[in-house]
Structures are given as C-alpha cells and as structure tokens.
C-alpha cells in the first residue's frame, strides 16, 4: 500500500487502551501525560497520546488571548499613513465581497501610533500598556483567514476548519502533550463574559475523546459546572463517597474484567480532586496588592477588572501546569471587537478592558521567570476593512490583519509580513491560520504533521490534511 503523504498510522487503539488512558484524564482533563510517564515510557509512543514532544519544546504552556469580533489591524499594530490621503474618499482598489455589503469610503485610523521600546515597533494609542512590552512581542501583520463570517472564522481559527465539530487547538495540545496537572483540565477557557459566535463548539474536542475538550471557567466564585457539592457538609459528601467506594469494590469483583470499572473509579477520584483544587485556584487573597494592581484589579473600569482577574488566574493556571488557557473577552457594554459602526467608541472600550491586564500578565510572567516557557498568542478571528462600513464602522476583513505572539520561544521586537499600502490585503509573507497552528505546535515541541488522530479513515491533524502549513521561523528566537 503506498502512503502518499506518509501520514497514516496503524489502526486506532482499542477501547480498553482508551479507557485506560482516559481514566486518568480530567474532564477536559488530559492526564495522558501522567499515564505517559508511567505506562508509555516503557511501551513507546502510541498513536493515541504522544506523551513526549517531537523535539525540544520552547514553551510548555499557551495563553491564547482571543480577541472576539476581530480588532482592526490599521487601528492597532499596522499603521497606514496612506489611508490619510484617501480618508473620506472612495477606496482606491476594488473591494472583495463583505459580510454586510455596505461599503463606505476610505476610513483613516482615528488613533495615533507611537514607536515603543528598543525595537521601535509602532503601536496605536489603543494599547499604551502593551506598547511598553513591545520588545517581548513579535507582531505578524500578514495573517489571513478563509472566512468573512464570524462563525466560520471562529471555527477556522480554533480548529483549522471553518465548520462545526473539529477539535479546538487547546484540545489538540492536551492530546499531544497531556497535562502536568493532576487536579485540573489540560485546556481551560477563562470566560470573561462573551461566548464567541459558534458557541461552545469553538472549545470542543471534536473527534478527540471528550477528555480533551475545553473546560469553561466562568468569572466568579463557582467557575465550573457541578463543581460545588450539594451536601450540607463536606463530611456528608465524604461519607457518601466512602460508601460508593466500598460498593464499587464489590462491583469490580462481580464483573470479572475490571479495567473499565477501575478506570471509572479512578475518574471519580480525579473529579474529587478537581472539586478541591478549583476553589483554591480562584481565591486571589494570596496575591499581593502590587500584583493585583499590575493586572488592573483596582481599575475603576469594571471590564478591566474582570479581564485583569482572568489574566491573573491564567498565570495561576500556568503555575499549576495547565497546558492551554484561552481567555475570552469581557462584555464592555458595546459589541465585542466587532465595530460595524462607532469604531472609535467601541474599539476604545474593548481596548481599555484588555490593555492593562495583558501588559500586567506579560510583566508578571516575566518577573517570575515564566514568560520564557509560556507562549502568549493575541488574535481575533479576522481583521477589519480599511474602508468604512456605513460612515464610521469597519466590516470584516480576512485578507490581511495583525496578530502577535510573545513569550516561550518567540523573538521579541520583530514585525513579520506586511499588508498593502492600504492595510487591506497581506502581500508580504502571507500567512494562514494553518501556519499559526503549525507555529504554536512547533514552539511546544510538536511537529504538526505528526500530531494525528484517526477519524473518518484519515489521520486528521490540526493543520488539516489538505492544506499547506509552514512554521513561521521568522518570529522564533
């Protein structure tokens, strides 16, 4: 049998193997790695859970700052003086079809740009705090997406395919590397308030086992579904669990083959540990005042407080060994970064909510020596048009937009790729979401062509079988 692409692996694992491995897993809670150390180390890699990276990783964890709605590139990290020349005049090149088909004239950025740091990378006045961290950041100005619709673009960004049902990148990372945490999931979504279009399926495990799906942690004291015991006292629950434990032992005897039962029993133990670990995670009273201030927890702006808290919890999750942490935006009393109208007001509110917390996170990780091993990814699902939608908004633009990387293995202070003079389409080092995924996996020590799972007769991967994906070496230190 000739293997055209060399990506096909032996048949999938048996159910027993899977139960064994998932038994140690955490509800989105991958403990394949834990097992990996114990079980796979002797037997070598299995197609199910490559517990060891393919090569030396540069980062151990990822924090994905997901800018829901699509921030405008020409108003944040991609200054375009040419737009001034055409401001208010017809856009000088032919526009592609847009989501709202209500294209107006060219719209120059209402914000000024300043050069920051030693690198002198320009950042707009929307991000003064992040600007001061720019020497740790690699800006990619030539990202592209395949979709102009939020939902498709969100699925594409998260899963590599613009349709529902595929595993999210956090799930792939958990699947690939397992978790270093015995009490928490490998993929946590810190929900600042907004759920992106496309819903929770952006964070799902698709055809990977449910073990790897993103666990949604809401803001607030009770962040995880069913994490709070319903019994009047801890002792009352413990007596119940003790009885369950005793009765389960009898079941294991009665059933004969017991591996499935034993895995289920182990699973309860993990759930119980998680029940204990989460309240501790969310309790910030052991964080110093200066730390809290750094993240904007004392801000008078409520959304800044919320996002600051999420950023701080993200750091605490990194400390606990959680692999992949995604942050969604808080509600700012305006739309998400999706300013079809009132660009100035909407982008300002969204930026104020995240600017100081993100800078706080970068600084705090750095001073604790964690930035080197934590990859930070900042991106929306697409950018926005350099021409107006209506009078003062911008429509979706997947043809060229900006995102950035920082931390684990990233070369700070660089700008990669470029859009045309109007900031409309990427023209230099045109990059795709597949490139981004390949790069994230690469920094984690994973070869994106080797992280595969058999589904529908094919060895599926995050970067997909039918598309090119190139690691963006220019942004790697």
């Amino acid at each position: 049998m000739s293997h055209h692409c060399g990506r096909f692996q032996p048949a999938p694992m048996t159910r027993r193997q899977m139960l064994r491995q998932c038994g140690a897993g955490f509800g989105s809670v991958a403990l394949a790695a834990m097992l990996g150390h114990e079980a796979f180390a002797s037997t070598g890699r299995t197609p199910f859970a490559p517990s060891r990276p393919h090569f030396t990783p540069r980062a151990r964890n990822v924090i994905f700052l997901y800018m829901d709605g699509g921030p405008s590139q020409v108003d944040t990290f991609d200054p375009k003086p040419t737009l001034k020349k055409y401001d208010g005049k017809p856009f000088p090149v032919k526009a592609e079809p847009t989501q709202f088909d209500n294209n107006g004239n060219t719209l120059a950025s209402p914000w000024k740009f300043h050069r920051y740091g030693q690198s002198g990378t320009p950042v707009s006045d929307l991000f003064p705090h992040v600007g001061r961290c720019i020497d740790d950041i690699a800006v990619i100005r030539s990202m592209t997406s395949d979709f102009s619709e939020h939902t498709n673009a969100n699925y594409f960004l998260h899963t590599g395919v613009g349709l529902q049902g595929r595993p999210s990148m956090g799930a792939w990372v958990g699947y690939g590397l397992g978790s270093e945490c015995r009490n928490l999931p490998s993929f946590v979504v810190l929900n600042g308030g907004l759920i992106p279009p496309g819903g929770l399926d952006n964070f799902n495990s698709g055809f990977l086992p449910a073990t790897y799906q993103g666990s949604i942690f809401k803001a607030g004291a009770m962040p995880v579904a069913n994490i709070k015991p319903t019994e009047p006292s801890a002792a009352a629950q413990q007596r119940k669990l003790a009885l369950m434990h005793d009765l389960d032992a009898g079941v294991a005897d009665q059933f004969g083959r017991v591996d499935a039962i034993e895995s289920a029993i182990a699973n309860y133990e993990l759930a119980f540990r998680m029940q204990m670990a989460v309240p501790n995670l969310m309790d910030l009273s052991d964080e110093s005042k200066p730390t809290q201030r750094l993240y904007g927890l004392e801000s008078s702006n409520k959304p800044t407080q919320i996002f600051g808290r999420q950023c701080l919890i993200a750091r605490r999750l990194v400390e606990r060994g959680v692999r992949f942490i995604e942050l969604t935006c808080p509600s700012v009393g305006h739309d998400r970064w999706d300013q079809h109208g009132n660009l100035k007001d909407g982008h300002e509110k969204n930026a104020v909510a995240v600017d100081q917390p993100i800078a706080g996170l970068l600084r705090d990780l750095k001073q604790r020596g964690l930035l080197d091993e934590t990859l930070i990814v900042w991106s929306g699902e697409f950018g926005r048009t350099p021409f107006a939608q209506g009078k003062n908004g911008r429509d979706h633009n997947p043809f060229g937009y900006s995102m950035w990387l920082a931390g684990g293995g990233v070369r700070g202070g660089v700008v990669h790729g470029a859009t045309d003079d109007l900031g409309y389409k990427a023209v230099e080092h045109v990059r795709t979401i597949h490139d981004l995924h390949a790069t994230i996996l690469h920094l984690l020590g994973i070869d994106h062509e080797k992280l595969t799972v058999r589904f529908g007769g094919l060895d599926q991967r995050l970067t997909t079988i039918d598309h090119e994906a190139h690691v963006i070496h220019d942004v790697i230190a």
């Binding site: 139960l19 989501q99 619709e149 698709g206 009898g250 007769g457 094919l458």
Partner: protein
C-alpha cells in the same frame, strides 16, 4: 529531437506532436541557459512540493516529461507560448486561485527568466526521467475494488460443522465457536438470569427491567422463558426509541442549524418520530433506505397505518439535518460544503465508505474516484430542500377528487375564451420573458401539494373565486383554481441569473423567494440576500412584484424561484420577466374576467355551494422537512475540491465500482430513485446489508464484526469474523431485511448470553481484546440510557411516545447567541430522545457521556471516561433531585422493613438483591448520615434525606451505568 522518446514512454502523443513543432533542438547555449539560470530556480522553489518527495496536485517539476504531461490541472507549459502556460500564469501571481510558489512571489528577474525559458521552447537536456512516483496516475477503480474484501459479492457460506454442538447450536455460535476452538479457547459460561435480563433490556429498549419483570424471568421455569422476554421487548414501543437514537447519531440529527444564531430546522422532530415508528414497525431495511434516499419519489409510498399519511417522504428530511450559516459571502462554497456533508453522511451510514475523501482527489486507498464523488454530488445538486405537506386521513386527497369531478361538470358549461393577450413585452437583451404559463402543462416546472394542480389555467374553465358565473383567466399558475383552502408550492426549473431584476406579475396572497445555489436561510436573516424573499399581498389584481435588492451581486449564479401558498388564500402567477432596468412592464389589471351573462346563475350557485361544502372538509396539512426534485443537473469535477476550477462533467450515477461509468439520464428530475434502487440491490451494492448487520452487531455486542462500523474501506479495520459477517448479511437479505428478526437471532445466540467473566485466565492472555468473543463485553451505558434509568428509578419517567421536543434545560454555562428559553430540569420526565437537540446548546450530561456532536455521521460513539461525568452524577441538581424523588417513592411503600426497602432499591437499580455485606454497609451509612445531620437514630426507617443520600450513592456506583 533531443529527447529520447523511448525513455519517456508515457508521454502522450499530443505533446510529441506539439513539441516537435514548438520546441527547439538541443541548442547548447539554450541548455546552458537552462542549467545555469532555470534549473536552480526550479530546484529552490518548486522541487520541495513537486519533486521526488511530494507531488502536490499530482505534479513533478524535475523532468520535462512530467512538466509537459502536467498534474491535476493539465500540462504546465506550452513550449514557445508563455501566455498560454499555466506555470507562467501561476508565478505571475495575477490569478487569485493559483499563486506559486505559495510562500511568496518570485522576484521579477526570476519571473523573467522562466518566461524567457518557456518562450525559447523550454529547452531541457536529454536525460532519463528520475525514479519515484510520477505524480498523476490513472486511477484504477477496478483494480482497487478487486484488492479489498468489502467490495466483493456476498458469500453465504455454511456455518462450520461442530463436533460438540451442545453450546454452538445456532449458526452464530458455530462461527464464534470455530474461531475459539482454533485458538484453543473456551467460551464463557452463560450469564445468570439477572445479569442477562438487565443486559437485554438496555440493549433492546434502553430501559432497565422493573423488579417484577426481573422476578418473573428469574422464576419462569419454562424452556422458552428468555425467548418470551426477547419477544416482549421487540414488541415494546420503546424498542423504536432505543434504535432510533442509534440511527440519529449517523444522521447528525439536530433541530437547529448551529453557527451564529442557531436558527431552527423546522419540523426536524417529525423525522425522529418517523424513525421510532419505522423501527417499531420493522420496516424492511431496503425499504427504509429507499425512503431515505428517494422517499419523495415513490409512486406508492408507505402510509401511516392509522393516519394514512405518506411516511416515506418524511425519511428524506435527513438530507437537510446539516449545519448551516446565514449570510455566506461565498454562497457557492456554502453549497459545496453542504453537499459534502450530505455525501459524507450518505457514504458512511449506508455504504460504510468515506466518500468525502474523494472530494479533492481520488481516494488514496479505496475504489472511489473524484468523479464518483461529483457523480453523487449531482443528485444533491438536482434536489431541493422542501417542506412537504402530509395529508392525515387522506382528507385532502378525497376533497381534491371531489373538486375535480365538480370542476369537470362546471367547466363543461363554460364557453372557451380566447387567451386575453398577455401584453407583449419588448423582448431584448435588457428584458426577457422567463415564463408566461401559456402552455398546456407546467413543462419543466415543479409542483408539490395539491393547490397548483398539474397545469396552468386553460380557456374554458370556470372561475370559482368570483360571485357571478365567469370563465377563468387562462394562462395562470393558480393555487386557488380548485379551492382556496388547498396549499402547495410551485418551483421553477433551475436557471442562471442573467439580470438584476426579476419581475413577477401575480395576484393574491402567498410567498415568493429566489433560492440561489440552494441557500435557504434568507428568511431567517436577509443579510446579503435582501429583497429575494417576499410576501405577495395583492388580492384580485394582477400586478408586479419585483425581486431586486441584492440580486445584482449574484449574476451568473444558478437559482430557482419558489412560490408558496401556505394559507387559505390563493396565489396566481401570470408571467415572470427578467430585466436590467425594470422598464416596459404591462399595467396592472383585474385578476378575474368579467361575468358571462349567458351562464345560468342558479346552476353555478349550486356548483359553488357544492365546492364550498367540500372546502369545509379540507384540513391543514401536516408539515415535514423533506427533499424534492429539482432540475436534473450533472455536476462538474472540482479540481482539488475547488468549485472555482472545474474539470469534466460528472454524469450522475452510483459508484463506478458498483455500476460502471454510464450516467443515469434524468433531465427533469434528480434521478435519486434510480440511485436508491441500485443501492438496495445487494447484487449491485453488497456493502448495504453488510454495513447494517454490522451496525446491529455493534449495538448488541459493543464492537462490530468490523470494528470501524462507518468505514469498511482499507483504512477501516478488517472483520474479525468475515464468514459470519457475510452469513448474517445474506440471511438479512433473505429474511426480508428484517431488523427485528436479525436482532432476535443475535440476542438468542449463546454468544450473546455469555457471562462477562472469562472461563479461564488463559483466554485473557490469548485474546486480551476479546476479538474472538470468548466472553461478553462489559459496556458503559450511553448518556441517554443512564438518564432514562435514573428517571425509571425515581418513578418520574413519563413514557409517552412522540411529539415536539422538550426544551433543553440551560445552565449558567450554556450561553451564546440564539440562547433559547430554558426547559425544565427533569425534561418533563420524558425519555432523553425527546430532549431538543440545539446545536449550540447541546445537553451537557449527554455531551459528557459522549453523545456525538451532530456534525457528521458518527455510527460508533467514543466511550470516554472524564471527570465531568463523575461531577454530574455527584453534584448535578437533576441527579440530586431524582435521588430525592426515588427515596420518597421507596419510603412511600407501607409496611416494608429497612432490609426490604434496600432490596427494592437494588432490584430497581441493578436487577439483583443486595448481599449481606452490602445491606450492612448501607445500614451503617444511613446511621452515620443520621448522626451527621443530628437526627435521631429511630428516623432510619422514614428519614427522606438520608435515604436520598443512599439513592444518590446508588446512582454513582459503577454497576448503575455499566452492563455486563
């Protein structure tokens, strides 16, 4: 000639001719130019993807013979003619869909060099073609078919003979025992009756047996005690609920479209009810498949036994249970993706083949070509989403017959009228008449429902919709001709949009929409499709309704017009005109012609009384999601899966491996009925019965004979018992494709009745994965069965069948756009199959227990083991609530001792009695909880709180959600 053609044996004659005319000879200077300037560029920028290692797009660039033959897109260059050369086009970066190299444009000097090289006639030294894969190769379906077992005809062999036929009495057991004996293994002993009845109840109806049912079976000493249980379960109405849910996993069943706003899929639940009825009625599987593929095309559809409505058409709803987004900026891509999802589900579910792999290239491993994929895509492209109208009690049918008879009588009294000349339009390129309905029939148009009849109105017909006797205006598509109460749809043939305005001269009330590339979401959200979906409200006056709005953005797309009368009004369409400017349209005029004074008013008043009496008998139709035929259209092969680069036409047909290459010819319709008949003919499609018996086996034994039940291809898993698989498939066909009798055969086997404990440890070592079935498998119950069992224990189960779904209960974690109103915590006590499946708000308990996300066919669920499952059973308010209910229920029975109550709990939950040790532990626990809550010890026989705690524990003990 400077190439040794004998070495380049595969080069086609065409280029030999071409090369001899256009290419230069072995000019040393030209070759030096090539070696020094051209080859380095090729080596640096092309070979990585188009060389010995990879041949993307079936192309290699490291030898001139490869270049001239080309890849998937055809020859790469035309020597001497850069402008006609695909490669020059690609490196110029002017073609949006083909830019090479993909990582960045070559610099100007490099582009100039390559252009010059082609202009020179593409000189290349005389060197042998390098070894390795050549890239593009002819795809040999027949060879691939003969190389893989699954394509072979059914082979109905005899079951192996057994020396000791004591255990292996039945055919299934003989096949299983033969393999066990060959491996020197023993089958496990039979399971005890309590284990067996719990197993077979969950497997057949998805519910646990009641304590009474358990005791009756345990104490039934008749030799056919077990058979009676099985037959009772097969006759239970809950059988259909259990097996419908299995099937729904393959149909990616959902009741909303997902994406941004999660818009509803109307009437989806009626398909679910169809499935329950079909499994309960044991509809033969060939008929069941026929209905799924082409239930709308059957001249004699299967009818509901009591209500007499057309059941067959409801099956076609599955085609449209896919996800859909609103406002796609590329609607043609949206259609291609939708069809891909349909083909994927079709292939995996009915054929066990990953057809969708052939979307972009010939299947790498199976006998499925890209042409096969697009030959199937044509069936879907030629079909349309539809809201079928069913006729419970066949009352509409009866009324139409009566109305026809009355009309014939009345028409006989009407004098023929001349066609009142439809105002001639100035026909020009700016303005064309698309349809004027002046013919004797609807020609290429499509009608469904009874309202529009089978022809436009003709001269000499009575107009029943005016007071005084009058002739009907001829030349109308009129939904009120027989009765205003009749409803129906009229659809145009598929056409290409050529003008930015569509004008419809019409009267009455109804709806019109333009469906572009099959996109039907505009009525939820008009974005990008404004003005293409309109209401018509113009009683009694013929005037113009114009579709324009966003139409100008869709010039060149294919579309059809759809007129719907779904009320007690009439809708009459006179003429349809396409124009650029909207000018030159005829003036409005009355719909009805003037009364004819020569007609006998009394007589016509009597006619009127009679038709109105019939009107009163016409009920509202029942609406269901369905597929209907559109204009027959063959698809084109999309090169590399992109509709933007089309290749050859792919005439509609079943897979080449089954029927050869001739297309079916059906210009008026989709031709699905032909496809369906070929699919259910086992001499043509032997995979059909194999895949289904394997599915049934999977659901009863936990693992299919072919473990990869949706993939019988080379990348699937081979059958563990190929002879048994074919034996069962043949029996299935011979036994009239009866699913119930196939299930009966399997569960009555001694194989199914084995215990889950091995006869000896040796078996576990020889057959650790139990592939040979030396014992029964231990299986975790599905989320639905766990929830239904909880409701059964608590007594909350409402076992009504059918009906609209119960809204899903929303937790704080279930947020997002399109969030509905929350449903009740206990789902009204209904079985889980009746919980509404909203794509963006899937029930968390079901998800945690591996209900598949409905995005494509998923016949085999994963069985994960995640803390979310434990957290749900430990802490979810639903589970706690049901435990409390169960406790109250068990305490409400008077006169039971504590031990008896414990026995009641165990029989209900586990179909067995507690051991002495379990009883003691439970009593100790009750006492400890009482003490912990500061309650008196005497309360042990009535304290609902501590008993609820015990019930809650019993839900969490693994025995509750495993069967063995």
């Amino acid at each position: 000639m400077w190439i040794d053609l004998t070495k380049v044996y595969f080069v086609v004659l065409a280029w030999v001719v071409m090369s001899s005319s256009a290419r230069v000879g072995a000019d040393p200077q030209a070759l030096e130019f090539f070696e020094k300037q051209v080859r380095p560029i090729l080596a640096e920028h092309c070979y990585e993807c188009h060389g010995p290692e990879k041949q993307k797009a079936g192309l290699r660039w490291d030898h001139i013979s490869f270049v001239l033959e080309g890849g998937d897109l055809g020859p790469e260059i035309v020597p001497g003619d850069p402008a006609a050369s695909r490669m020059i086009d690609a490196i110029g970066y002017a073609n949006e869909d083909l830019k090479m190299p993909p990582t960045g444009k070559l610099d100007e000097a490099q582009v100039a060099t390559l252009t010059k090289w082609v202009a020179m006639g593409a000189p290349w030294p005389d060197e042998p073609a390098p070894a390795g894969p050549r890239g593009r190769q002819r795809f040999d379906v027949q060879r691939m078919k003969h190389e893989h077992w699954a394509w072979a005809p059914l082979h109905a062999g005899e079951p192996p003979a057994m020396k000791d036929a004591n255990w292996a009495k039945q055919a299934i057991d003989r096949f299983i025992e033969a393999k066990l004996q060959a491996a020197e293994l023993h089958h496990a002993p039979p399971a005890d009756r309590r284990t067996l009845i719990r197993r077979v109840y969950f497997d057949l109806i998805g519910l646990p047996p009641t304590p009474q049912q358990v005791e009756a079976f345990v104490h039934d000493s008749s030799p056919n005690a077990y058979e009676k249980v099985v037959d009772g379960l097969l006759a239970s109405p809950h059988f259909g609920e259990r097996w419908a849910r299995h099937w729904m996993d393959s149909m990616r069943y959902a009741e909303t479209y997902g994406h941004e706003f999660d818009y509803p899929i109307p009437h989806a639940w009626r398909y679910r009810d169809y499935l329950i009825r079909a499994f309960n009625a044991d509809v033969p599987y060939d008929q069941f498949v026929l209905e799924h593929i082409a239930g709308d095309r059957l001249t004699k559809p299967r009818r509901h036994p009591e209500q007499q409505f057309n059941e067959s058409v409801i099956a076609t709803g599955w085609w449209y249970l896919h996800e859909q987004t609103h406002a796609p900026t590329d609607v043609r891509q949206h259609e291609a993706d939708r069809i891909d999802n349909q083909i994927d589900a079709l292939g995996k579910t009915f054929l066990g083949l990953t057809l969708a792999c052939a979307r972009c290239h010939d299947h790498k491993f199976d006998a499925i070509s890209t042409r096969d994929y697009y030959a199937l895509a044509g069936f879907m492209q030629s079909s349309r989403q539809h809201e079928a109208q069913l006729d419970p009690g066949r009352k509409i049918h009866a009324a139409v017959k009566q109305l026809h008879a009355l009309r014939r009588e009345a028409d006989a009294a009407i004098h023929s009228v001349e066609m009142p000349g439809k105002q001639a339009q100035n026909v020009s390129s700016d303005r064309v008449v698309f349809e004027d309905f002046n013919g004797d029939d609807y020609g290429p148009w499509f009608t469904t429902g009874a309202a529009f009849g089978d022809a436009p109105t003709q001269g000499g017909q009575w107009d029943r919709n005016v007071e005084s006797p009058a002739p009907m205006r001829p030349g109308l598509a009129d939904s009120g001709r027989l009765s205003p109460k009749l409803q129906g749809t009229l659809r145009s043939p598929t056409f290409t949009i050529t003008h930015p305005r569509i004008h419809i001269r019409c009267a009455g009330r109804g709806k019109v929409r333009l469906v572009i590339d099959g996109y039907t979401m505009a009525h939820f959200n008009g974005l990008l499709f404004r003005g293409l979906d309109q209401k018509i409200d113009r009683p009694d006056k013929l005037g113009w309704t114009t579709l324009d709005g966003d139409l100008h953005n869709h010039l060149g797309h294919t579309a059809y017009l759809e007129f719907t009368d779904d009320s007690d009004d009439c809708l009459a369409i006179d003429q349809i005109v396409f124009s650029k400017d909207g000018k030159g349209l005829a003036a409005d005029e009355p719909l009805h012609l003037s009364a004819d004074p020569s007609l006998d008013t009394e007589r016509f008043n009597e006619f009127r009384r009679q038709v109105e009496a019939v009107d009163a008998t016409i009920p509202q139709p029942l609406r269901v999601l369905a597929m209907t035929d559109g204009t027959g259209e063959d698809s084109y092969v999309h090169i590399r899966g992109s509709y933007k680069s089309v290749g050859d036409s792919a005439p509609r047909r079943h897979l080449e491996a089954f029927v050869g290459t001739a297309g079916i010819r059906d210009e008026h319709g989709s031709g699905r009925l032909t496809l369906a008949r070929q699919m259910i003919d086992p001499s043509i499609t032997p995979l059909m019965p194999r895949v289904m018996v394997n599915r049934v086996w999977h659901h009863l034994f936990g693992v299919g004979l072919v473990p990869s039940i949706d993939n019988f291809g080379k990348l699937g898993q081979p059958p563990t018992h190929p002879e048994l698989l074919d034996y069962l498939a043949s029996e299935f066909v011979h036994d009239d494709w009866s699913i119930k009798r196939m299930i009966r055969r399997m569960v009555l086997s001694n194989t199914y009745r084995m215990a889950s404990k091995s006869a000896d440890d040796h078996a576990e070592q020889v057959d650790p994965n139990n592939q040979l079935l030396h014992r029964m498998r231990i299986r975790r119950l599905e989320g639905e069965a766990i929830r239904d069992a909880i409701l059964t224990c608590s007594g909350r189960l409402d076992d009504r069948l059918y009906g609209p779904s119960v809204e899903v209960h929303l937790t704080d974690f279930m947020t997002g756009r399109g969030r509905p109103k929350s449903g009740p915590l206990d789902g009204d006590g209904r079985r889980s199959i009746y919980t509404k499946i909203r794509r963006n708000f899937l029930p968390p308990m079901m998800l945690a227990f591996d209900m598949p996300i409905p995005f494509n066919a998923m016949g085999r669920r994963s069985v994960s083991n995640v803390p979310a499952q434990a957290l749900i059973l430990m802490n979810d308010p639903f589970v706690v609530q049901q435990a409390e209910r169960w406790a109250k229920r068990v305490l409400a029975v008077k006169g039971r001792t504590i031990e008896q109550r414990l026995a009641d709990l165990y029989e209900t939950a586990y179909a067995r009695r507690p051991t002495a040790d379990e009883t003691r532990r439970a009593i100790d626990f009750l006492n400890a909880q009482l003490a912990g809550y500061n309650r008196p010890a005497e309360a042990i026989d009535h304290d609902a709180a501590v008993w609820a705690d015990l019930c809650h524990v019993l839900f969490n003990v693994k025995e509750f959600f495993f069967i063995h």
